[in-house]
Amino acid sequence: MKKTIFIIEDELMLADMYKEKMEMAGFEVIQAFDAEEALKKIEGTNPDIILLDILLPRQSGIYFLERIREKEEFKETPVIAFSNFDDSETRKMAFDLGAKDYLIKTNYTPQEILDKVKKYIK
């Protein structure tokens, strides 16, 4: 059975790139472009891993992470936070909310991100 990866990324080009890479690697991909949309879409799904952009329009990725951690079914879902915003406070907040890793997007190729996904997936 295909594993599901939920990608929350507001930059269309990057979202398509990661979606393409993950689908080629055999994942089923659910996409969302902002936190509110992601909160709606995640209901009724059970992703095996979440790839979460931090800098999102209106509400941040941290806001999304806080909301899903309040729900029993998503308490243990592995999350990889990624962003081009390298801020130690945000990084700490992500780890405090159970993120497995905090990646700076420019420092990783899609293949390297895929390797991280495979490392942390449940």
Partner: protein
């Protein structure tokens, strides 16, 4: 000795008017007020002196002298009102051309009246006494005279009222109110006792109430001037004391000193006191100015601090925007190039792959540059935090060296790790930052070395962890050794060998090692003699 009845009260009142007028002239001129304002004020007071004193003397001397004196007193009256007009327009900052023309017109009319009043009987025809009270017979142009004075009075009040109701600033409102109250009181009293009662009711005995009301006007004007200049009017106790002493001595000089010699001595003393008071007030004013200057400096400092905080906030926002906006396109370029190169979209001919690798490599350089620039911005904005944790330094160095083995081998270089003789304990390190430093130095070593290799050693010395990274590369000139750790410096070797980088890596390395309370420095015997980089971090 004169008693304190009727005429004597008038005389004393006159003395007080003179003393207070003189005092105000000294006060205004001892403060740093606008030159024009203080000159106009002084002119007003001088004209007032002429008016009130000559009007008084014209009533106590014989008729031949009396008529001359009263004509002189009246001749300056339109000038007095015109000076008030000049003063009000100057004080209110009215620069419109129409007012310049009005001022000039009234000045010419006033000067004309000086000559008409002095040398003709057109204004004052005759004077005579009834029961020791001076009576005046007016000339044919007396109505023009009174009309001019009234027009000037109404004009002055109009200007003040207009300003009063058009200004919203509290300070300006207060000053205009002062002038309005002063001028209205003077206009009313002067109108009643110098025009209405004498002209319509032939009552001449209360002239002094009209004349001496000039001091009410002068006082309010002086107060407005000083209030406008000083944010908080500070009439100091010494100033008041000196004013009281001056008035008392002045009165004593006039009333209680018949002896001419003594009068002269007292006059000299009075003038000396006036001069000392002037100096005292100047000193008080200087102190007030210094206090104001300090207040202004404090305000400027507060504003500068606020601007700095804004600039700091703007800098932080720029860093956040720049990091996101600059990096996003670099991420997609990196991503798609890597996917093309690794065959995600199909096999790529070697020649095309070679070019794609070049573009990918250029993009990596750009990413590195952006990372370094952002790091420098964050360091300088104080936004980079030192986050130490207990770490095994030997393990970190070993992992880094392992990562470089392939790169070094590709260039035909060796890379060795000399472990410490005595195992180092775990120590507080910000691993992320330390990695960046070691990576940067080893990367530079490989870049600037064409044969031989890199040796990394670690040892414990006097409770410090000492890392040495030595290469057999191009070496560094003596004059470049110190400059290398400054931002945007790459040393002469860097310029010759390679055009990569902006010279920020070692600057950032120095900042990161300093966060560990450590030291970093470089040594080299010169060009083509290799280089050694040393890092010393206290074991905590």
């Amino acid at each position: 000795m004169p008693g304190l009845y009727g005429v004597e009260i008038v005389r004393i009142a006159l003395l007080f008017v003179n003393a207070i007028g003189l005092w105000f002239v000294v006060l205004i001129n001892s403060h740093k007020t606008d030159k024009k304002i203080s000159n106009l004020f002084s002119t007003m007071v001088i004209l007032m002196f002429i008016w009130v004193n000559l009007a008084y003397f014209s009533r106590i001397l014989d008729i031949e002298i009396g008529i001359k004196l009263i004509r002189i007193a009246w001749s300056v009256t339109p000038l007095f009102f015109t000076t008030i007009l000049y003063f009000i327009l100057e004080f209110l900052g009215e620069k419109k051309k129409i007012y310049q023309k009005i001022k000039l017109a009234f000045l010419l009319i006033s000067i004309l009246f000086v000559f008409i009043t002095l040398f003709t009987s057109a204004i004052i025809d005759k004077i005579y006494f009834i029961n020791q009270i001076l009576q005046i017979e007016y000339g044919i142009l007396s109505w023009v005279f009174f009309g001019t004075v009234c027009v000037l009075s109404f004009l002055n009040i109009f200007l003040l009222l207009r300003k009063r109701f058009s200004t919203s600033e509290n300070n300006q409102k207060f000053e205009t109110n002062c002038l309005l109250v002063g001028f209205s009181s003077f206009f009313l009293l002067n109108g009643i006792y110098n025009i209405i009662l004498p002209v319509f009711y032939q009552r001449f005995n209360l002239y002094y109430l009209g004349d001496y009301s000039t001091i009410i006007l002068i006082s309010f004007i002086a107060y407005a001037i000083l209030k406008a200049k000083l944010f908080k009017l500070f009439i100091s106790l010494p100033t008041l004391l000196m004013a009281a002493i001056f008035i008392i001595l002045f009165t004593d000089l006039i009333f209680l000193t018949p002896d001419p010699t003594l009068k002269l001595i007292k006059l000299i003393s009075l003038l000396t006191i006036a001069y000392i008071s002037y100096l005292l007030m100047k000193s008080v004013q200087r102190q007030t100015e210094q206090r104001e200057e300090i207040e202004q400096l404090v305000q400027r400092l507060e504003k500068a601090n606020k601007d700095l905080r804004m600039a700091d906030k703007t800098k932080s926002e720029f860093i956040s925007i720049a990091s996101h906006q600059l990096r996003t396109p670099l991420t997609s370029t990196k991503g798609y190039l890597s996917m093309i190169a690794d065959g995600t979209y199909g096999k790529v001919p070697p020649k095309i792959k070679e070019k794609i690798d070049c573009v990918f490599y250029s993009n990596e350089r750009l990413i590195k540059l952006v990372n370094e620039l952002l790091n420098v911005s964050r360091i300088e904005a104080g936004k980079i935090k030192y986050e130490p944790e207990k770490k095994d330094l030997e393990k970190i160095l070993y992992q880094i060296i392992q990562d470089f083995r392939i790169v070094a081998k590709e260039k035909g270089l060796t890379i060795k790790f000399k472990k410490p003789k005595e195992k180092l304990p775990e120590m507080l390190l910000d691993e992320d930052k330390l990695r960046q430093v070691i990576l940067n130095i080893i990367d530079n070593g490989i870049k600037y070395t064409n044969k031989g290799g890199i040796t990394v050693s670690l040892e414990k010395k006097d409770n410090n962890a000492c890392i040495a990274i030595a290469d057999t590369g191009e070496g560094i000139r003596k004059e470049d050794l110190e400059k290398m750790f400054q931002s945007f410096s790459r040393g002469s070797t860097g310029v010759m060998l390679s055009r990569e980088g902006a010279g920020l890596g070692l600057y950032i390395a120095k900042k990161f090692i300093e966060m560990h309370d450590g030291k970093i420095w470089a040594e080299s015997k010169g060009l083509k003699k290799g280089s050694q980089f040393y890092i010393q971090i206290p074991i905590k």
